[in-house]
Symmetry: C2
Subunit: 467 residues, 2 copies
């Protein structure tokens, strides 16, 4: 209820603006593009092509290199211009053997997967008693003597929510848990997979080792295995054995793949449509983020096919290495530093295949009437807003830090985290109709932003970081 | 619609019986047992104990031996008497390495698992082009030249149904597909997992090699992998590589675990409550058939705890080796051949954890009024019937062949086959309330059958085999 109230209060449409002399761009082309996409887009075909022909594409892997080549060829075939690979050096982390078992009080194989970036276990694995904690705070409250020499198991269930914020609330134990445990002398970390699903598939994801603390191996348990371990540990002393063979190799070359629909007059002004090309290695990255890739490519194709391009350039960027480094997003902001003032707005799609229900925005306060006008053609798609947003795409966060206005489409994430970062992230989970709606919203908004007079200003300095 | 009509026509209650002088057993004890179970049984505790303390228990494995010991101890602790292990020699099949990959046109790892009983692939694996067929009939229609030297992939989706019959309609390709393919010269068989779920977990299950045909290796693909393989093969030539290390060892000793609630007068007349103690090796056999084990043990406990036992003996049997041999069911019928005439009725629970909605029966036609009377106390549990049934428990099918009346509880199987035979068959999927309802129905029916005057007669000879 509190959330609903806040959302309502933040609806930008609640404010009144006076004295603005601004003409919205003609809505007919946006509506026509929207309806064309909604009638049946090729977004699902693009996702199928990427997942079936390339497959998993973890940064720096062979699949990643294939994905870059795929992206370049696909953009050209769809009619984008100035298509290029902008080189990015990315971390190269390689998954190895990964096994785990409860050794006492009862023998059980554990279904688990290493967290991305984890160090391996020592030769022969690690075996220790388990200490269960429900959160980082619960760990902090334990004396070091209860943790030293043990395997810390973070059992923090994720809540299923439509807006996906259940994920944000649970994920801290994955990112910061390993170092928090190591600081107290733990020898390894297990986390309950950050997912509301009870399928026996572990969900990987990145971790961040803190400086000055030993890096300890870390893995995610499938939820059924986490529940088993919790039952056993609640009943008495429980030992676990963990073997991880993952390791890091030298940074590898990858690329942001960039293509454009050149503006008909203000060619140097940019409306950026982004998604990330890399994926985790367990599935084929269909929802994360094949869906986003398919949508922005299809939006580009529809715009490029118009006899008259919009005034500004629409730039499609498929970012490298979102999952375990964000090197693509950082490299883009650096390489394009000189033209960031000409980036009118950036939008990233990275929340799966299900329908968009709201447009979130962060821009100058003076942009409100423009955002409202550009959201109007989306109302028939079931999209509310604009609402002042807080969370935007990871890859465009370095642009946010420079004041570039941000758009996020709030999508129905009810089932997204059942799939995300697991072997289950495969093409069959794609909803083609969901993608059509996403393309419709993206292309209509992009057209409006690329056509309108004036811009959205800059994000005020105090709002350029995520709180 | 046709099915509904048949069901209605078969409702035994539709028939009228005249001239029968028979007094139903007093319903108060059945109702009291039913209500006691429904208020909260210990069935889920028994399932948790079996799955957490023993885990997977494939026939002949170490887990199977542990399960027999567990069953004996549990029966004794629950107050059953004449508790014993009745020796059964069981096949011992051991899963080994199992990997698969699409090698052309695009490289993909395949998530798969060997079918139970499969022979291994030759040293170094097998690699061949794939031929996709939708059914045994579609395979039969192909010329041998289209199949020889290839890997036959049966892509037969399973329909989700409440009564579970979608499984029966799809499963023939798993049992008989490998030999049907071998007869035409195939080198290996893949089947789409027999499940309505799209989770990326393969479902194993037994196969039956035909005599006089080479035994070829056979594996089940997870549904997302089956869909991928289908897409690729529909588009053009597709090659797959398969490595299976599974093998057979000499038969091993296992046991049917038997315990009783001794009848207060007709001690030698038997009401049999069965479930199977073995499980597949991928999960911990919580639904298949930990649930059945928990329910019949709990029904036994409740009956044993009554100050006055029913007239007849209620015998609880935990059968060995249901999954890949049925040796337990066959051995029971053989060992008890002399007393099968005294087996009044046999009931097996082996369809998971969700609610019973109907009682199915097969007995002498003269048994109808008795079956109706004994079903009456189940009406408040949402259980319809009695209906003349066709499918009964596997382990009691050798008793059916001898004319012993059969009862099956039709359970809501809507989600059962999402889980069954996969790594996902774990305790967290158990619904304790569902088990309580199952116990309530089982104990009330068992009391009535053990208390009533007279019996259900024998199954007529022409109905003793499954059609």
């Amino acid at each position: 209820m509190r959330r609903l109230f806040l959302t309502a209060a933040l609806l930008l449409g609640c404010k009144r603006h006076h004295g603005q002399a601004w003409a919205a761009p003609p809505s007919a082309p946006a509506e026509s593009l929207r309806d064309e996409a909604l009638a049946g887009s090729k977004a699902a075909d693009h996702v199928r092509s990427l997942t079936d022909e390339v497959g998993p594409r973890l940064a720096g892997s062979e699949g990643d290199a294939k994905a870059v080549a795929w992206g370049l060829a696909k953009m050209k075939s769809l009619g984008l211009t100035h298509v290029r690979a902008e080189k990015v050096m990315v971390p190269r982390w390689v998954r190895g053997v990964e096994t785990g078992a409860v050794t006492a009080p009862h023998a059980h194989a554990l279904t688990l997967t290493a967290l991305g970036g984890s160090v391996p276990t020592p030769e022969g694995g690690v075996e220790a008693d388990v200490v269960v904690v429900a959160s980082l705070e619960a760990l902090a409250a334990l004396p070091d003597t209860s943790v030293a020499g043990k395997i810390v198991f973070f059992d923090k269930p994720m809540e299923r929510t439509k807006d996906g914020l259940g994920y944000n609330r649970a994920v801290d134990v994955r990112g910061r848990g390993p170092s928090a445990a190591a600081k107290k002398g733990a020898v390894a970390t297990l986390v309950r997979s950050i997912t509301p699903s009870d399928a026996r598939l572990p969900h990987t994801g990145g971790l961040r080792y803190a400086d000055g603390v030993p890096a300890i191996p870390a893995a995610a348990l499938a939820v059924p295995d986490a529940m088993l371990l919790r039952r056993l540990a609640d009943a008495g002393p429980t030992r676990v054995r963990l073997v991880l063979g993952c390791h890091k190799e030298p940074d590898a070359e990858s690329a942001n793949v960039v293509g454009e629909v050149e503006g008909r007059s203000a060619k140097d002004e940019i409306v950026l449509l982004g998604a990330h090309l890399d994926s985790w290695d367990l599935g084929t990255g269909a929802l994360d983020d094949g869906a986003g890739v398919g949508v922005v490519l299809e939006a580009g194709r529809l715009l490029a096919a118009r006899p008259t391009h919009p005034r500004r350039t629409v730039r499609v960027v498929l970012f490298a290495n979102e999952e375990n480094g964000l090197r693509g997003g950082v490299a883009y902001a650096k390489a394009h530093e000189a033209e960031l003032g000409k980036h009118v707005v950036a939008l990233e799609l990275d929340l799966g295949t299900d329908k968009i229900f709201r447009l979130d925005a962060l821009a100058a306060p003076s942009a409100d009437p423009k955002l409202r006008a550009l959201t109007l053609p989306l109302a028939s798609l079931g999209i509310a807003g604009p609402v002042k947003g807080e969370h935007f795409g990871s890859d465009i966060s370095p642009l946010r830090a420079q004041g570039v206005p941000q758009i996020a489409f709030a999508q129905d994430a009810t089932r997204y985290f059942d799939i995300h970062h697991s072997a289950d992230d495969t093409f069959d989970k794609i909803d083609p109709k969901g993608l059509d709606q996403m393309v419709a919203a993206t292309v209509a908004f992009a057209w409006g932003a690329a056509e309108m007079d004036g811009d959205f200003g800059r994000i005020p300095p105090h709002e350029r970081g995520e709180h």
